[in-house]
């Protein structure tokens, strides 16, 4: 079976859940080889984790000398690993998490390997056919790469990570990084403060607030915490400065597809829908019964979020005991 490269998404060695989803999907296409680019002293833990979810091989690449540069060093690394593995035609595919960095890496790798690129897949079948949701969720598209190896970026929450250990053979890999790849330098970086809540794109439940909160996010946050959910927002709430931009869901924010999405005081503009319409169950609380968000919902409450949410929070807490 051919090797399928899975780029490990991680924060300082802590492997993200979407990476485990990629490993699960990669097994359909061939033998998963995880590519870890990160601090060498955290590689052991990361390798154990990806092994437990099926990695047959783990390429470990120390990024001490290249982590201060944008994207290009990772592209060169993947290209060189792909070549060592026999080139695009002998690979079973390359899977990358669909976030901004992942998409840019995949894009440049596609040019380098002369291979087709599919972005934002929500599923990958055994024969490499992908499923995408386009036009703000109004169409489902099946697509396939026809040249080279399929390079696919996959959205978080697209598969259930299934455990099942692979051989997990570790191979230290030392790429040759060109000077050109260091042309875009990260001059300063401020990691986002942890909210203590689940990561927005990975969460099973997302509770979001919009302009209708009037700037008071406490009812939204309270309800989110009762449900163990992540907190998101519309652009109107972000633009008003009520919550940071990293909370934004939509066309120009994050795309989420949780099991449950609860929109509070959000009207449901097309740009907002683009980021949440693939959620499995959609619930809204809005005081305007004509709000377009109600066209999408499985369940809706026409009411004031500042009274409905605190009362619901209390009831949820009681039920949970």
């Amino acid at each position: 079976m051919s090797e399928v490269l899975v780029l490990v998404d991680h924060v300082d060695g802590a492997v993200s859940k979407p990476t485990l989803e990629l490993l699960t999907l990669a097994k359909k296409l061939g033998e998963p080889s995880a590519v870890y680019i990160g601090p060498a002293d955290k590689a052991g833990d990361a390798a154990e984790r990806v092994k437990a979810f099926g990695a047959e091989k783990v390429y470990v690449v120390d990024d001490a000398a290249t982590k201060g540069y944008l994207v290009a060093p990772k592209v060169e690394t993947l290209q060189q690993i792909a070549e060592q593995a026999g080139g695009a035609d002998s690979l079973g595919g390359v899977l990358v998490v669909s976030n901004f960095e992942g998409k840019e890496i995949a894009a440049r790798l596609a040019v380098r390997l002369g291979s087709g690129l599919i972005t934002d897949a929500v599923d990958v079948a055994d024969d490499g056919t992908t499923t995408q949701s386009v036009f703000a969720g109004n169409y489902t598209v099946a697509a396939k790469v026809t040249h080279g190896t399929p390079i696919i970026t996959v959205k978080p929450n697209s598969a259930n990570p299934t455990e099942g250990a692979g051989a997990g053979t570790v191979e230290q890999f030392t790429p040759t990084i060109s000077e050109r790849a260091k042309a875009a330098q990260i001059v300063a970086s401020q990691p986002r403060k942890s909210t203590g809540r689940p990561e927005l794109t990975e969460a099973a439940i997302v509770v979001a607030g919009g302009r209708g909160t009037g700037g008071d996010f406490a009812p939204v946050e309270g309800f989110a915490d009762a449900l163990g959910a992540a907190v998101g927002a519309s652009r109107a709430a972000v633009d008003s400065g009520w919550v940071p931009h990293s909370y934004q869901i939509g066309q120009t924010g994050k795309t989420v597809s949780p099991q449950l999405y609860v929109a509070n005081g959000i009207s449901g503009a097309i740009q907002h829908r683009a980021g949440m319409q693939t959620s499995k169950t959609i619930v809204a609380v809005n005081k305007d019964e004509e709000a377009p968000i109600f066209e999408l919902v499985d369940f809706g409450v026409v009411g004031d979020l500042s009274t409905v949410l605190p009362a619901a929070t209390e009831q949820v807490a009681q039920r949970k005991g």
Binding site: E101, A107, A136, N138, A183, S246, L309
Partner: protein, 273 residues
């Protein structure tokens, strides 16, 4: 630095508020659906114009709008000219239809080189893009352009500063807020956090009619029909399905706290609690 040449990539996309759909060959219907300049590319045009206006000698800064697309895609370039861009370039050729990211980025890259040569002083210093097209939403063309042109990529800018040929941008990355630095020439993409885009003024609309607008074919760029288009695409869409309309959900009116109870019951029935 004396002269500064900024090229903005603007895409013509089907209107998101119209009924966007696919053709029988599973390519996006770009002719039968009303189109417009991709909303997110307006932010790139705006930032290019601001760089020009802020320059010591604005006349030395040339802003060129470039689009690749069918005949009516020229409207995207026209809109950019109306907003204040100086020149326009439209690459159009029947053979381009159905191109995927690899094809589109190849045509754009060749066009950037061609425009550079035509500028007399030899190069495009800044290639600016939107953060994503509102139809494909890939956010990949800027990275591909950087790869093809062998230029630094400085993507997702929300704040842009330049000093001579040095560029610094601020951006909200996936996990951190970052400052990225690079030297021109480079490829940049701009987000909607960068500030509202201007509307064309009446004067701008009149002036646009007299601005130079070039049309290139594939042959003008040294490309042939076997380099791009649906038949040589690196990926193919095998099926497009319109999502069935959602079955209408249950909507309740909150009266004296009944809403919260109904909501909690619904969530419990779905095992979310």
């Amino acid at each position: 630095m004396t002269k500064l040449n900024i090229l903005v990539c603007v895409k013509h996309v089907p209107d998101a508020t119209a009924d966007r759909r696919f053709e029988e060959d599973n390519t996006v219907d770009r002719v039968g659906v009303d189109g417009l300049l991709s909303e997110l590319d307006e932010y790139a045009v705006e930032q290019a114009l601001q760089l020009k206006e802020k320059a010591d000698a604005p006349d030395d800064v040339t802003v060129i709008a470039l689009t690749v697309g069918p005949d009516k895609a020229v409207d995207a370039v026209r809109k950019a000219l109306q907003m204040g861009a100086d020149q326009g370039v439209h690459v159009t050729d029947d053979a381009i239809a159905g191109s995927d990211y690899l094809g589109t980025s190849l045509v754009l890259a060749k066009a950037v080189e061609k425009v550079g040569e035509s500028l007399g002083d030899g190069r495009v210093d800044l290639v600016m893009c939107g953060m994503a097209s509102t139809d494909a939403a890939g956010s990949v063309v800027p990275a591909m352009l950087a790869e093809r042109l062998d230029l630094p990529q400085v993507t997702l800018a929300s704040v842009i500063e330049t000093q001579g040929d040095q560029v610094r941008i601020k951006r909200d990355g996936d996990t951190a807020t970052e400052v990225i630095g690079a030297t021109m020439p480079l490829v940049m993409s701009v987000t909607d956090q960068s500030g509202e885009a201007r509307y064309p003024s009446f004067k701008g609309i009149m002036a646009a009619k007299k601005k130079p607008l070039e049309t290139y074919s594939l042959a003008d760029l040294g490309l042939g029909a076997d380099d791009v288009g649906l038949s040589v695409a690196y990926s193919e869409v095998t099926e497009t399905t319109e999502r069935p309309p959602r079955t209408a959900g249950e909507i309740v009116k909150d009266e004296d706290g009944s809403g919260a109870t109904a909501l909690t019951e619904f969530l419990a029935s779905k095992k979310f609690i």
